[in-house]
């Protein structure tokens, strides 16, 4: 994992295979970094779960387990802020095409809750095309001021 220093910001970048084991790795990396920012155990758990769900989407829906496609994980930490970018090399998708998991008719659907959890647990969430192809999800969490 590369660790270029940039002033007060530390950035970690890694590339992961499109396998389920990468989901655990991404979660472990981000929990470790969240701890360094100062997030408490519950917040680390929530951030870890958000990144887990993003990485599942990248492996399963984006890259479709392709051996030739990678998941790109960037973690930036600065004073009181953690930013995570999860990128895939898939065909992209339209957020608006996803059914609302909280609509009464969708409550018993087996899937479709990942983005709801991500949005709930993180302060910022946005999704855009990744330069070079694929989709990039950007997550931000701010440390609460005590």
């Amino acid at each position: 994992m590369a660790r270029p220093e940039n002033g007060k910001m530390e950035k970690l970048q890694t590339t992961l295979d499109s396998v389920l084991e990468s989901v655990d790795k991404a979660e472990e990396f981000v929990i470790q970094e969240a701890g360094k920012v100062g997030f408490d155990e519950d917040e680390q758990h929530q951030i870890g779960m958000a990144v887990r769900e993003c990485t599942v989407n990248a492996v399963v829906h984006g890259n479709r387990y392709s051996k030739t496609k990678k998941v790109h994980l960037d973690i930036e930490r600065s004073s009181g802020v953690l930013t995570v970018i999860v990128g895939d090399e898939g065909d992209g998708f339209d957020l608006n095409s996803l059914p609302d998991p909280l609509a009464p008719e969708n409550l018993l659907r087996q899937s479709g809750r990942g983005l709801l959890l991500i949005r709930t647990f993180m302060d910022e969430f946005d999704l855009h095309p990744r330069p070079g192809g694929g989709t990039e999800v950007r997550l931000v969490k701010h440390l609460a001021k005590s």
């Binding site: 389920l20 989901v23 519950d42 758990h45 779960m49 887990r52 769900e53 599942v56 399963v60 998991p101 909280l102 409550l107 018993l108 659907r109 087996q110 899937s111 809750r113 990942g114 709801l116 959890l117 709930t120």
Partner: protein, 114 residues
């Protein structure tokens, strides 16, 4: 640790004791297989004890919902026992608290089936 599931009978109620992580992959698969197997064998009163479950992700939640649907469609009931605060929070966020009957103690849960 991935999910470990064992079942036991308390009268006519089948209690499924789950432990470990119910996440995408082996954990969620074994969870799904256990519920479907018990439902297929005609068990209609199922109590899922999650007290020793350390982690559930959206796939695990999906398997719980799928299990609920399978059991309900077979004319049975699937109820939940011993949720940690984190699992309770997930059920609140996903509005599944409105779907599942949830209990904190086993005696009350068993009694609720009768």
């Amino acid at each position: 640790m991935s999910a470990k599931l064992t079942s036991r009978q308390v009268g006519d109620v089948t209690v499924i004791d789950a432990a470990g992580r119910i996440t995408l992959g082996d954990g969620a698969s074994s969870f799904r297989d256990t519920i479907r197997d018990l439902a297929a064998k005609g068990n209609k009163k199922l109590l899922l004890n999650l007290a020793d479950v350390s982690y559930i992700d959206s796939s695990g939640i999906g398997e719980m919902v799928s299990g609920f649907t399978t059991v309900t469609n077979n004319g049975g009931q699937l109820k939940l026992l011993g949720l940690s605060k984190r699992v309770k929070d997930l059920l609140q966020i996903t509005k599944l608290y409105t779907v599942f009957e949830v209990f904190d103690d086993e005696t009350s849960a068993i009694r609720s089936f009768h």
